[in-house]
């Protein structure tokens, strides 16, 4: 790796840490330069614009997420174990300092169109697809019911993860971990059941 690419990587790792804690807009050129020991202009030259820096941070986040969550989980056996591993890895990722980068950045960018939002949406969609795919495989393997709606499963699993994040990082509820695991077990149990367990809607 050339010298330039090397420092660029160092910059991005630090930028990702900061962005996880105080958000993407909290990553300022001046501050980042100070923390990496570079000059403002020296650092700036690596990216050319703040927008490009933001995109690079999102890509760095996606890279780390794949490496620390997806890859290890996909090494687990197909089916329910893999689904469980995805969940476990995700909650561990969400307990890093600053919490899950994507949760924070998602809230920050949801109304700000642009390349960084696009990159972030792409990463999140990939993640949702991965969850749905794992559920689909679990159904095919016979761990989950064949009538399972994998996208619906992913939607609800995502909700548990977001709730985990909210209660853990924001409300600082000490019961959060137990609650999240309980919710996950309930979700998996209902996915196992052969009947979809959806009686006629009340009212």
């Amino acid at each position: 790796m050339s010298k330039g690419a090397e420092t660029r990587q160092v910059i991005l790792e630090r930028a990702f840490e900061i962005a996880s804690v105080i958000g993407l807009s909290g990553v300022t050129i001046g501050r980042l330069a100070e923390e990496t020991g570079l000059s403002k202009s020296g650092l700036f030259a690596h990216f050319g614009s703040k927008e490009a820096l933001d995109v690079a941070i999102v890509e760095e986040a996606a890279r780390q997420f794949v490496q620390e969550v997806m890859v290890p989980a996909l090494r687990e056996p197909r089916g329910e174990p893999r689904v469980r591993a995805l969940f476990e890895r995700w909650t561990a990722w969400g307990e890093r300092p600053g919490g899950c980068f994507f949760v924070g950045a998602g809230a920050e960018l949801d109304d700000r169109p642009g390349p960084s939002r696009d990159a972030l949406v792409r990463a999140c969609k990939d993640w949702v697809d991965e969850l749905a795919k794992a559920a689909r495989i679990a159904a095919r393997e016979g761990h989950f019911t064949a009538s399972l709606d994998p996208e619906q499963f992913a939607f609800e699993l995502y909700g548990i993860m977001l709730s985990f994040h909210q209660f853990h990082r924001f409300l600082r509820d000490p019961a959060t971990r137990v609650r999240a695991h309980h919710a996950f077990d309930r979700l998996v149990a209902s996915a196992r059941a052969s009947a979809p367990a959806l009686p006629a809607r009340a009212r």
Copy 2:
């Protein structure tokens, strides 16, 4: 209402709108002054500091939330209908321009201690408590199983709401509304069941 309190209210309503869309830190004194037709200093005098303005915005958000979500839902009959009304009102609230203020602000402030974070946490906890209380009442009324854990119910319901927000506002998934309602129906159905439907954990 005196003149001062009147303009203060006008300011806060506009500030709340902006904060819902671009976040609390997106509400700048200059911009807010421009949009309300006041001078920077004239506006500033109403609050004394940015921090105090932030707190006031959070309180305004809580006020509107109570008025538009809580109060109407609490007029519904006790039990499941009220739980359902809380959910319906909340999703409607989350479809306002900018989405749910509390979701955005929560992600923004989760690592920034201070009075605004405190105010926000208080409002969110009140909301969670309200959800749990409604579930507890539904159990007492016989709509839900007596063995229901109301706090767990609130945790999972909150997750559905957060997932709704994420898929709707950020990922712009057109199936979101259906997914959220489906998830809600499943949650309510399992709360109705007499058995807790929680088999021994796999693995």
